[in-house]
C-alpha cells in the first residue's frame, strides 16, 4: 500500500513538474544504445550496422521515451498541460478574438459571481446561531403583525413545546461621552433572547433574567461593531459604566459578531424589563418574538400548541381584536425577507446574460473552427487521434473560460462597491464577500461555460475530413453549422427579449410611481428626528413642555419660515389600530393610522381643511381630547353624515385603560402617508400636546435654505432646551419621497444594466452571423448580380435573413417573457406583468436593432463586384 501511494505521489509530481526527468531518460537511453552497439560490434557487425541493430533492439528512441513518460507520470495530465501551453500560444496569435471572448466572459461570469456572493451570504451561509434549526420567528394575525406584550407573556407562561421564548422591541438611546452625544439604535430584549438566538459573547457575558426585571440595576450589552468603533475593541470596557440617556449603565458584555453579521442593525442591547402592567396589555402589537422549539419536539407540534393558546387569548380578550392566527417562519426567512425573491430574479437575469455571452463565443468559435480546418487536418494526418484533437480544442476553451473567470472575479469584487453604495437596500446588511464558496462557484461557472461554448465547435472540428480538407485547401467553409449558428442567435435574441421585458416593466412602474399624487407638499420642506431620552417617560408634562420649547426655539431660527412637529412623517408606516365610534362600540371599526402633530403641521404640509378646524394651540393637556381625521376615515366611519362633534376611540384595549374618547373637531384632506405604493390611508391626527407617549418626533421646517445650513443652529437651540435630546437624520422631503420611489430601484438598475448588456451581446451575435452569411455567399451574390439582380434585391436577401432570425427570436422571447414576468409582479406598480405596451416596444426595439445589425453586412453585399467575386 505504501509503495502504491508513493508511486501515485511521484507520478503526480512528475505530471505537474515535467521536464526534470526527461534529460535523465535521454541520457539513460543513450548509454543503453552505446552499450548495445558495443555488444553488436563485438559480435562482428560493422559500426553503422551495429548502430542500427542497437536501435532496432531497443524499439525506437521516441517510443521508449514516451513509454517511460507514460509510466512515470499521468499521461492525461501531461497531455492537458501541453495542450494548455499550446492553447495559450494559439490564443496569443489571435488577440482580437481572445480579447473579445475573455471580455464577454468576464462580464458574464463577473455578474454571476457577484450575484452569487449575495445569494451565498443571504441564503446559503450557515447562520451564526447555535440552534438556528429549532428557532421560529413568530408573528400574530393573518397579516403578520408584531406580538402584543400580554400575548407574549401568556405564550411564555402557557406553552410547553418551546424551550424558551425571547422578544425584543426596537428602541433608541442617547449615548454621551464628554460633550459628545450619539444617537444609538437599541433593542430592548428579554434575557431569554440570548438562549433562543444563542452565540457565545465576544467579551464578558449577556444579562440574566434577574437583570431583566423592572427596577433591576441598569445594564447594557454592547454590539460587536459599537465595541470596535467606539471603544476600539478594548476588553476593559466590560465592567465599566457608560452614559445612556443620561444615566449610567453597567456594561456586562459584548455581543458576538455573529449578531451583526446576521443583519441585526443594533448598537446596544438593553433588558426589556417587561413589568406586570405591560404584560397585561393584549392590544398593542410591538414585540418581535423568537421561540426555541424544545429538543425532541417539532415546529408543527409547537405551532399547534401556540395556536391553541392564541385562540384561548382571543376569547379571553375579545376587545384586543385578535384573529387567533399565529404565523411562524424560520430565522433565515425572518432575516432575508423578500430579498429571496430579489435574488432569484437577479440570478435568473445574470444567468441569461451569461448564456447570451456563451452563445456569442460559440458562434465565434464555430467561425474560427472553419478557418482552422487545415490546422486540425494536419494534426490528424500526423497521427493525433480524434479524442486528442477534441480534448485539445476543449482545453483551449477552458483556457479562455478560466481567463474570463479570473477577470470576472475581479469585476465581481468591484461590483461590491456598487452594492455598498446602494445603501437603501437590505442587501447591504448581508456582508457579501469573495470567499472559498464564491471562488468555487466562479470556477465551476468557468468550467461549465467552457463545455457549453466549446463542445459543439470542438466536436465539429474534430470530425474534419482530413483528405478533402487538405486537398482543396479547405478555405471555403461549408454551410454545415449554419443551422447551429442561426439557432444560437435566435436563443440570444429570445433571452435578450426576456431581460428587456423585465427591465421595461420595472421602468414603467418607476414612471407610474413618479406620477402618484402625494397629497402633501415637499417644496422647501426639510425634516429631522428629535428624540428625548427614553428613561424620562415618567413625567408627561415635562415631555410636552420640552417639545413646545424646542418648537418655539426652532421657529425663531433665522431662515426658518415655519416649523411643526409630528410623531411620524408621511411614507413611514404610522401607528395602525382599530377605531370605534362612541355609541357603536359593539361594531368593530376599521383599522386606521394614527399620528400626533402640532397645530402648524397641516398648513406646512399643504393639507386642506375639508370641515371644522385643524389642530389648535388650545388643544393641550387638561383640555378636552380632540382629533382631526382625514376625509377617508370620515367617510369610512360616518358615511355622508357629518363627523364633527362625534367622539371616537382607537385601540379600544388601550382606551379601557386610559378612558379616552377623542372628539372629532375637523376633517382634513388625505395624503399618501403609508408609502407611495399604498392606497390613501384612513388617518387621524391627535394634538402632540395631548399625546405625551411620543418621545421621538419629526421636526418639519419650511426654509429656502439648504437644510445642512440650518442644522447647526437647530441643534444648538435643541441642546439649549435639553442637552440630552438628540437631533439626527436631517433630509429634505424631496429626498424622503425619492427614497420611497427608488426603494425598488436597486433591482431596476441591475435589470436595466443586464438587459442592455444582453441587447448589445445579442446585436453583436446577429451582426456576426449575418456578416458570416454574406462572406459565405460572395460567390452566389456575384452570380446573382451578374445575371441582373438589382442592388435592392441583394440587400433584401441579406435583410430577410436578419429579419427572419429577429422575428423567430423575438417571438420565442415574448412567449418566455410572458411566462416569466409573473416573478416580477410584487415589484410592479401601476402596470400588469403582461403589459402589452412594454412587450410590443421591446419586440419592436429588438427587431429594429437586429435589422440595423444586418444592414452593415447587407451594404457590403450590395457592393459585391461580380467580376472579382466570380474570379475568386
Amino acid at each position: 500500500m505504501m509503495s502504491f501511494l508513493r508511486r501515485v505521489v511521484l507520478r503526480l509530481r512528475n505530471a505537474l513538474r515535467p521536464g526534470r526527468d526527461d534529460t535523465d531518460v535521454t541520457r539513460e537511453i543513450a548509454a543503453h544504445l552505446a552499450l548495445s552497439e558495443e555488444a553488436f560490434a563485438r559480435r562482428g557487425l560493422a559500426p553503422e550496422a551495429a548502430r542500427l541493430a542497437a536501435r532496432r533492439a531497443l524499439g525506437g528512441i521516441e517510443q521508449t521515451k514516451s513509454l517511460h513518460r507514460a509510466a512515470r507520470s499521468f499521461a492525461f495530465i501531461d497531455d492537458a498541460r501541453r495542450d494548455a501551453w499550446y492553447a495559450i500560444r494559439t490564443l496569443r496569435h489571435a488577440p482580437g478574438f481572445t480579447a473579445m471572448a475573455v471580455l464577454t466572459l468576464a462580464l458574464g461570469i463577473g455578474a454571476n459571481t457577484a450575484i452569487f456572493s449575495l445569494v451565498y451570504s443571504a441564503l446559503l451561509r450557515p447562520l451564526p446561531y447555535a440552534n438556528a434549526d429549532r428557532v421560529l420567528f413568530l408573528q400574530e394575525g393573518a397579516d403578520g403583525n408584531a406580538v402584543t406584550f400580554g400575548n407574549f407573556g401568556s405564550w411564555r407562561d402557557r406553552s410547553h413545546e418551546f424551550e424558551a421564548l425571547g422578544a425584543w422591541l426596537n428602541s433608541a438611546a442617547t449615548f454621551s461621552r464628554g460633550d459628545e452625544t450619539t444617537r444609538l439604535t437599541a433593542l430592548r430584549a428579554t434575557a431569554d433572547i440570548w438562549k433562543v438566538l444563542e452565540i457565545p459573547p465576544a467579551a464578558g457575558r449577556y444579562y440574566s433574567a434577574e437583570e431583566d426585571r423592572p427596577g433591576a440595576a441598569p445594564v447594557v450589552v454592547l454590539s460587536y461593531h459599537l465595541w470596535q468603533t467606539q471603544f476600539a475593541g478594548d476588553p476593559q470596557v466590560v465592567g465599566s459604566s457608560v452614559l445612556l440617556d443620561g444615566a449610567p449603565r453597567l456594561v456586562v458584555g459584548v455581543a458576538a459578531r455573529g449578531y451583526d453579521e446576521a443583519g441585526n442593525a443594533v448598537d446596544v442591547w438593553l433588558p426589556a424589563a417587561l413589568g406586570p402592567d405591560l404584560l397585561r396589555e393584549h392590544g398593542d402589537h410591538e414585540l418581535s418574538v423568537y421561540g426555541l422549539v424544545r429538543r425532541g419536539s417539532t415546529a408543527a407540534t409547537a405551532m399547534a400548541e401556540l395556536r391553541g393558546i392564541e385562540q384561548q387569548l382571543q376569547s379571553e380578550y375579545p376587545r384586543a381584536r385578535l384573529d387567533g392566527v399565529v404565523q411562524a417562519m424560520d430565522v433565515r426567512q425572518s432575516i432575508v425577507g423578500n430579498t429571496r425573491q430579489n435574488l432569484l430574479i437577479l440570478t435568473v437575469a445574470v444567468g441569461f446574460v451569461l448564456l447570451i455571452a456563451c452563445a456569442n463565443i460559440t458562434n465565434l468559435l464555430l467561425a474560427r473552427a472553419v478557418a482552422r480546418q487545415k490546422e486540425v487536418a494536419v494534426r490528424a494526418a500526423l497521427g493525433a487521434s480524434r479524442g486528442r484533437i477534441l480534448s485539445q480544442l476543449l482545453i483551449e476553451s477552458l483556457v479562455l473560460a478560466l481567463a474570463g473567470g479570473a477577470f470576472g472575479v475581479a469585476i465581481a469584487y468591484a461590483g461590491f462597491q456598487v452594492f455598498a453604495t446602494a445603501a437603501s437596500t437590505s442587501l447591504v446588511t448581508l456582508h457579501p464577500e469573495i470567499n472559498g464558496a464564491v471562488l468555487g462557484y466562479a470556477a465551476a461557472l468557468a468550467l461549465s461555460c467552457s463545455v457549453l461554448f466549446g463542445l459543439t465547435p470542438a466536436w465539429r472540428a474534430s470530425r474534419t475530413d482530413v483528405q478533402n480538407t487538405l486537398r482543396d485547401a479547405g478555405t471555403r467553409g461549408s454551410r454545415v453549422g449554419e443551422a447551429a449558428r442561426n439557432s444560437l442567435v435566435v436563443i440570444e435574441l429570445a433571452l435578450a427579449v426576456i431581460l428587456l421585458a423585465g427591465a421595461g416593466l420595472l421602468i414603467r412602474s418607476a414612471i407610474a410611481l413618479e406620477q402618484v399624487p402625494l397629497g402633501f407638499e415637499t417644496r422647501d420642506l426639510a425634516t429631522m428626528r428629535v428624540a428625548l431620552p427614553g428613561q424620562r417617560q415618567t413625567d408627561p408634562l415635562r415631555t410636552t413642555t420640552t417639545f413646545a420649547n424646542i418648537l418655539e426655539g426652532v421657529q425663531a431660527v433665522p431662515g426658518v419660515q415655519s416649523a411643526a412637529l409630528a410623531s411620524r412623517l408621511p411614507l413611514f408606516q404610522g401607528y395602525n389600530c382599530g377605531v370605534v365610534v362612541e355609541g357603536q362600540e359593539r361594531d368593530g371599526g376599521p383599522l386606521a393610522n394614527f399620528r400626533a402633530a402640532t397645530p402648524g403641521y397641516f398648513s406646512l404640509m399643504g393639507l386642506t381643511i375639508r370641515a371644522g378646524r385643524g389642530l389648535a394651540s388650545g388643544d393641550i393637556a387638561g383640555a378636552p381630547p380632540v382629533i382631526v381625521i382625514n376625509d377617508r376615515l370620515a367617510r369610512a366611519l360616518f358615511g355622508s353624515a357629518s363627523a364633527l362633534g362625534r367622539r371616537i376611540a382607537f385601540c379600544p384595549q388601550l382606551t379601557t385603560m386610559t378612558g379616552h374618547w377623542y372628539q372629532v373637531v375637523g376633517v382634513v384632506s388625505a395624503m399618501r402617508s403609508n408609502g407611495l405604493r399604498q392606497d390613501l390611508p384612513l388617518e387621524g391626527f391627535m394634538p402632540l400636546a395631548q399625546s405625551p407617549d411620543y418621545l421621538t418626533v419629526s421636526l418639519v421646517v419650511r426654509s429656502a435654505q439648504p437644510i445642512a445650513n440650518l442644522t447647526p443652529a437647530i441643534r444648538h437651540i435643541v441642546h439649549g432646551v435639553d442637552p440630552l435630546v438628540s437631533v439626527y437624520g436631517a433630509q429634505t422631503l424631496d429626498e424622503l419621497v425619492a427614497r420611497d420611489r427608488t426603494s425598488g430601484e436597486f433591482i431596476l438598475d441591475l435589470l436595466v444594466i443586464l438587459g442592455a448588456t444582453g441587447l448589445v451581446l445579442a446585436v453583436i451575435g446577429v451582426y456576426g452571423v449575418i456578416a458570416y452569411f454574406v462572406s459565405q455567399r460572395v460567390h452566389e451574390i456575384g452570380v446573382r448580380v451578374a445575371v441582373g439582380a438589382s442592388t435592392g434585391r441583394v440587400v433584401g436577401l441579406v435583410l430577410r435573413q436578419g429579419c427572419g432570425l429577429a422575428v423567430v427570436g423575438v417571438g420565442l422571447g415574448t412567449i418566455g417573457a410572458l411566462a416569466g414576468s409573473r416573478m416580477l409582479e410584487s415589484f410592479l406598480f401601476g402596470v400588469t406583468a403582461r403589459d402589452p405596451l412594454t412587450f410590443v416596444c421591446v419586440g419592436a426595439v429588438l427587431t429594429l436593432v437586429a435589422l440595423v445589425a444586418s444592414g452593415i453586412p447587407a451594404r457590403r453585399a450590395a457592393r459585391v463586384n461580380p467580376v472579382t467575386a466570380l474570379k475568386a
Binding site: S3, F4, R6, R7, L10, R11, D24, V25, R27, E28, I29, A31, H32, A34, L35, S36, E38, A39, A57, L58, G59, G60, Q63, T64, L67, H68, A70, A71, R72
Partner: protein, 117 residues
C-alpha cells in the same frame, strides 16, 4: 498503447516483467538496463522477444515504488550507465509478489485442468 500482433507472441501479463526484473536483480546483483535486457533475451525463449525499450516502464514503476534504486556508475569498459539495485523493500516485495504469482498460476492451472473433459 496496445502491442501489435498479439497472437503470435506471448503477451506479458502486467506485472510479470516487474517480477522478472526483481528476480534478475536478486540473483545477478546490481545491473544496468542494457544488461537486464540482454539477460532477458538470453534466458527467455526467443518467442518472448521484446523490444528492449519495454523494460523501461517496469524500471520506472519499480523505482517509484521504492523497490529498486538506480545510480549512475561507470562500467568496466569505462562507459557510464544507470545501475539498478534491489532495495530491502524490493526484497520483501519480490517475496510477496512471487507468492502471489504462485497462487495465481496454481489456481489457473487447476481451473484449466478442471475444464478438460
Amino acid at each position: 498503447m496496445p502491442s501489435e500482433g498479439g497472437n503470435s507472441r506471448i503477451v506479458l501479463l502486467q506485472g510479470t516483467l516487474d517480477l522478472i526484473v526483481l528476480r534478475a536483480l536478486t540473483t545477478m546483483g546490481p545491473q544496468h538496463a542494457y544488461a537486464l535486457a540482454d539477460r532477458l533475451e538470453r534466458v527467455v525463449e526467443p518467442s518472448l522477444r521484446l523490444n528492449q525499450g519495454t523494460l523501461y516502464p517496469a524500471l520506472v514503476r519499480l523505482e517509484q515504488k521504492g523497490w529498486i534504486k538506480g545510480e549512475w556508475q561507470r562500467t568496466e569498459s569505462g562507459r557510464e550507465a544507470k545501475v539498478y539495485a534491489i532495495t530491502k523493500a524490493g526484497v520483501r516485495g519480490l517475496q510477496k509478489e512471487t507468492e502471489r504469482w504462485r497462487r495465481l498460476s496454481g489456481l489457473v492451472e487447476k481451473l484449466l485442468l478442471g475444464d478438460t473433459p
